[in-house]
Symmetry: C2
Subunit: 327 residues, 2 copies
Amino acid sequence: MSAMVLEEQQRKTYSIGIDVGGTKISAALFTPEGKMSSRNKSPIDTSKPEKTLFQIIQIIRDLESHVEKEKAGIKAIGIAIPGIVYQSTGIVWAPNIPGWEHYPLRDNLQREIMIPIMLESDRSAYVLGEQWCGIARGLRDVVFLAVGTGIGAGIIVDGILCRGSEDIAGAVGWFALDPIFREEYAEMGCFEAEASGSAVARKAIQLIKEGESSLMFELVNGNLESITAKTVVEAARKSDVLAMKVIESTIKYLSMGIANIVSILNPQMIVLGGGLFQSGDFLLEPVKAEFRKWAQPIAAKNVKIELSSLGEDAGLYGAGKLAWHTN
Amino acid sequence: MSAMVLEEQQRKTYSIGIDVGGTKISAALFTPEGKMSSRNKSPIDTSKPEKTLFQIIQIIRDLESHVEKEKAGIKAIGIAIPGIVYQSTGIVWAPNIPGWEHYPLRDNLQREIMIPIMLESDRSAYVLGEQWCGIARGLRDVVFLAVGTGIGAGIIVDGILCRGSEDIAGAVGWFALDPIFREEYAEMGCFEAEASGSAVARKAIQLIKEGESSLMFELVNGNLESITAKTVVEAARKSDVLAMKVIESTIKYLSMGIANIVSILNPQMIVLGGGLFQSGDFLLEPVKAEFRKWAQPIAAKNVKIELSSLGEDAGLYGAGKLAWHTN
C-alpha cells in the first residue's frame, strides 16, 4: 500500500451536525464515535428565508475551515429541522421559520455546498442522538417522546428510523385518548391538547379565570397570561391545589400516551424530553407508575422509561449522527 | 453450463405455509410469486401438545410427498401461530392450544423436519399475507388490524416486519382510549374491552340484562348468552335501538384506535380483518368517516382504510411468504 493511500485512509473524517431550532441554530463537528467539537450556537435569523439559508451556509463554511486546518475531511452534513422533512424532494415544512412552509432547503443548500447534506425532522434527530450518544445508546427499539409546546415522537424500530409513508410518522400529539371530543382536538390532536406544556399553562389559566384561587396568581404578579408549564409545576411542588389538579390530569394523559407507544411498538426504552420534562422526577415518577396500568403488561414490564440525558443537545447529536447512519 | 446444473437451477421450488388456528390448521404450497396449491384444512387436535405437533409434522410430510412427485424442492416452511413467537428461541406462547403456554415448537419440529422452519405470530402473518398477495400488495408501510375475540395489529414499517424488542409489538388491544379506567381494562386492555367482537356481544347482553328491550332477545330465542357480535350487527341493520347504541360505541372506539395507528406510523394502508369486519361495509364506512376526526390530518388524508381481501386466508398466505421473506 502506498504512503499516499495510507495517509488518505488514515485522514481524520468528521460529520457536521446542525440543529435548526425556532430561536437558535446549534452546530458542531462529530467523529464517527460521537465525539463533539467546535460547537457553536447562535440566534437564528428568520427575517427572510434567504437570511436563514445564508446563516446555515456560513456556519458550514466556518466548520469547514476548522476541519481544513486539521487537514481532515467532512463526510456529510446532517441538519435537524423543527418540522417535517420530505425525504424524496428535500423540501421542508417548518412553520416557525417564516418562508419555510414549503421550502426546498436541500436543493438551495446543495447549490452552495458540495458535501452531501441529509435533513431530518427534529423528533427523528432526538431519538437518533439519544441512541448514538445518550441514555438509549446502542438500543435497537427506542422512542423519544418530546413534550414541549407540542407533542411528537421520534421512533427507531429494529435499528431503523421510522419515518412513515409521508415522512410524518410520530405525530403522537394526535393520539385519541378521550372519547368525548373537544373542539381543541381538531386543531392539534387530543394528546397535545391535554398534555403538552402549552396545555398545562392553558388549563391553569382557564381555571384561575373561572375563579379558582391559586398560588400561581402571586407567582406571576397577577399577570395570568405569563403562566407557563414551569409556573404550574412550581406551584404544584408547593402543594397548590389548582396546580396539582392540572398536573394530575397531565400525568394521566401522559401515562396513557406512553402506554399506547409501549403497547404498539414494544420498545426497549422510551426517552422523555422537551420542556415539560425539565421538571425531572416530579412528572417522571408518577408517569412511570401509572402507564403500567394501561399498557400491555409484558411490554410494560420490559420497557425502560428515562429522561433524556442529552437534553437540549439531543437534536444536535442526532444531526451529527445522520452522516454516519446507513438508513 | 452443464445440463445438470441447468436442471437444478430450473427446478421448481415451493414454500410450505401453515396457519395454526385455535380450531383448525390450514396448509398449502406457495411459489415465490404467491401462487397457492395443494391446499388443505383440518380440525386441530389439541388433546395433547404432542398430538398437535405430530399433526403438523404429518401435514408437512404430505406436502413434501406432493412436491417430490413433481420433482420440485421446498425452500422453507412458515408457520403462523395464534399467539406470541419468541424469535430467538423458537418458543411459542399460544394460550388457546393446551400445553403451548411456553412450548419449544421450532426445536421440536426441527428434530423431525430437515427443512428450515420460520415461525411468526398470526397478526404478523396477516399483514405479510395482505402485503404479498392481498389488498396491500407491494406496499411498504402497512398495518393489519385484526378485530375478533381480541384485538391485535401486524405492522410493516418501510418493508420490514415490526416485532418489537420482546416480539410482542402490535398489542394495540391495550390502547388506552378512555381516561376513566374500568376494571375490564386491566385484563385485556381498554381498546379490546371496548371494541372487540367479544366486547360487542358482552355489552349487548349486559344492556338487555339491565332491562332494555331489544330485537336480539328474539333473534337468540331468549338465550342471551348465545348473542354474538354477528347478532348485534344483524339487529342493528334492522334498526334495533339497543344494538345501534352498542355499534355506535364500537365505531367510536374503532375510529380512535385506527386514528392512533395512523398518527404514530403514517402508513399507506390499514387493512381491517377479523370476525367483526365480516359485516363488511356496515362498520367500515362509519369508521372511515370518523377516524379522520381524530388522526393527524395529512396522515389521515393519505392512508387507505380497506377490508382484508384474503379474509380467512391472510394468515396462510403470510405463513407461505415467510420462506421468501428476507426480514
